[in-house]
Amino acid sequence: MTDHLDDYVNAAARAMELPLDDAWRPAVRANLEVALRLAKLVDDFPLPDDAASAAIYSA
């Protein structure tokens, strides 16, 4: 049974030219589910619009 995340994994693999084997798809999807769950935890934290990134540099 497929859902939106399966669709996304398939589409992202094609768009990114990643040779995703059918046998690997469940594990990749499972890893992505974890990553997106953790990403949501970060995203849910309110930050002001002018929050600066840690990835700044000095010219």
Binding site: L20, W24, V28, A39, L47
Partner: protein, 465 residues
């Protein structure tokens, strides 16, 4: 002093070699002999550079015979995680793919600095593939094994470094720590490890994983040896853009200053959850010895760990994108699947993680206005069995591999210096993190030294070999 070079500390070896009580050749030979016997079990080494080591040792003995000073690590054998460039070796970084790289033309900066101080490189060490690992297992080279129980994990990703020092094959090893890869093997193998402040030690000519999180640092069986190695490796290096132009700040002369006047607190909340009883016991012993009772809360530590996870998986995927496209079958399958996933995480999440990182850093630095040291567990448990897939934390069954580092990730995420100290519980040791403010490795090491002197922290003799 111990009787044989193989059981001597780095400081003892250097003193004995400098004073011509033993030769560097003898000290090197003893390490090579011990490796030959015990690495069959531990699988810590992927390369033993015996010819190079003997030549270097002979050169040191010749310099001493000529009356020259050879440095504070005279004749001390050491080894490096195999993501450090070693002249003449391909830098495999735990992978199959990198074995096709040409041999490195020059040593990593930190190897050069160790050898300039008289140390003798004896080999390169096993590690989790491309450092994306907390277990010390490796699909291509086999697992590095725990010196206290070879059926257990050494911890990763610097598993060979933990195994080699924990097994007393060498007194000092170097490794890397992106999310906990120095502190986790230190904890599982019962040794001291130092993850310096981000940007303190040069990473030049080492294979990266996550550039914005990667640190290099030493492992040792005593705090004195840890400080000896750390001190000689300090200093700016224009070959690593992240390495700061900061003068050498020696820690060795400060070790004996004690803990008087230091404000020491225990990390609460997140850092007191998801622990097995042995981790709770280790932190309690350390806190009691230090007289620490104050609890401080690192705000939003769970989100910090989550943000570190996102930055790691996406930066790691970016690093390996071409290899994922061209040689996916040559990766450890578990690493490949994580990196494939990382390549699919939308960039907006990475940007949010980096913005959160700055917020979190500011809040944690505020804490250091009222405390000097924060204590936290290094791992949730002692070393699991090799191949163990799950463990139960706070009543919830979780996969082992990604959750071993849940207490280390929120700390390295903002580059704080940490000394991991081993608490010699039975049957297996476990580590505690001594966390200091940025650039205050001296404080973390002072506390570690005090704990060692009190007998609360020490590296137990290897129980499993």
């Amino acid at each position: 002093m111990s009787e044989t070079p193989a059981s001597m500390s780095a400081a003892e070896i250097a003193q004995a070699v400098s004073s011509r009580k033993i030769t560097a050749v003898a000290a090197t030979g003893a390490a090579l002999a011990r490796i030959a016997v015990h690495d069959k079990v531990l699988n810590a080494f992927t390369d033993v550079t015996a010819d190079r080591a003997r030549a270097k040792a002979r050169a040191i003995d010749a310099e001493i015979a000529a009356g020259k000073s050879v440095g504070p690590l005279a004749g001390v054998p050491f080894a490096v995680k195999n993501l450090f460039d070693v002249e003449g070796l391909s830098t495999r970084a735990g992978s199959k793919i990198n074995r096709d790289l040409p041999a490195s033309p020059r040593d990593a900066t930190l190897i050069e600095r160790m050898e300039a101080a008289g140390a003798v490189l004896v080999g390169a060490l096993n590690m989790g593939e491309y450092a994306y690992d907390f277990t010390g297992e490796n699909a291509h080279d086999g697992p590095s094994r725990n010196p206290h129980d070879p059926a257990r994990m050494a911890g990763g990703s610097s598993g060979g470094s933990g195994s080699a020092v924990g097994g007393a094959l060498v007194p000092i090893a170097l490794g890397s720590d992106t999310n906990g890869s120095i502190r986790v093997p230190s904890s599982f193998c019962g040794i001291f490890g130092l993850k310096p402040t981000y940007g303190r030690l040069s990473r030049a000519r080492s294979f990266p994983f996550v550039a914005s999180l990667d640190h290099l640092g030493p492992f040792a069986r005593s705090v004195k040896d840890l400080a000896l190695a750390y001190d000689v490796m300090q200093g700016p290096d224009t070959d690593d853009p992240a390495c700061v132009a900061r003068p050498v700040e020696p820690t060795m002369p400060l070790l004996t200053e004690g803990i008087s006047g230091l404000r020491i607190a225990i990390a609460g909340g997140y850092f007191q959850q998801n622990l097995l009883p042995e981790a709770v016991e280790a932190v309690a012993r350390v806190a009691k010895a230090l007289g620490a009772t104050q609890i401080v809360e690192l705000p939003e530590a769970a989100r910090a760990r989550a943000a570190a996870f996102i930055i790691t998986t996406t930066e790691g995927a970016a690093l390996h994108l071409d290899r994922l496209r061209k040689r996916p079958n040559d990766f450890d399958p578990a690493v490949r699947d994580r990196l494939f996933s990382g390549a699919m995480v939308p960039a907006v999440h990475v940007d949010r993680a980096q913005k959160f990182r700055r917020w979190y850093r500011a809040r944690v630095l505020e804490l250091f206005q009222s405390v000097d040291v924060i204590l936290a567990p290094a791992t949730p448990c002692t070393a699991p069995k090799i191949g163990q897939a799950n463990f139960t934390l706070d009543g919830v069954e979780l996969p082992v591999r990604p959750n071993i580092g849940i207490h280390t990730q929120p700390i390295s995420f903002i580059g704080l210096p940490v000394a991991a100290v081993p608490v010699p519980l039975e049957p297996m040791p476990i580590g505690v993190q001594i966390i200091a403010a940025p650039w205050r490795e001296d404080i973390a090491l002072r506390v570690a030294y005090a704990l060692e002197q009190m007998g609360v922290a020490n590296a137990p003799a290897p129980r499993g070999i």
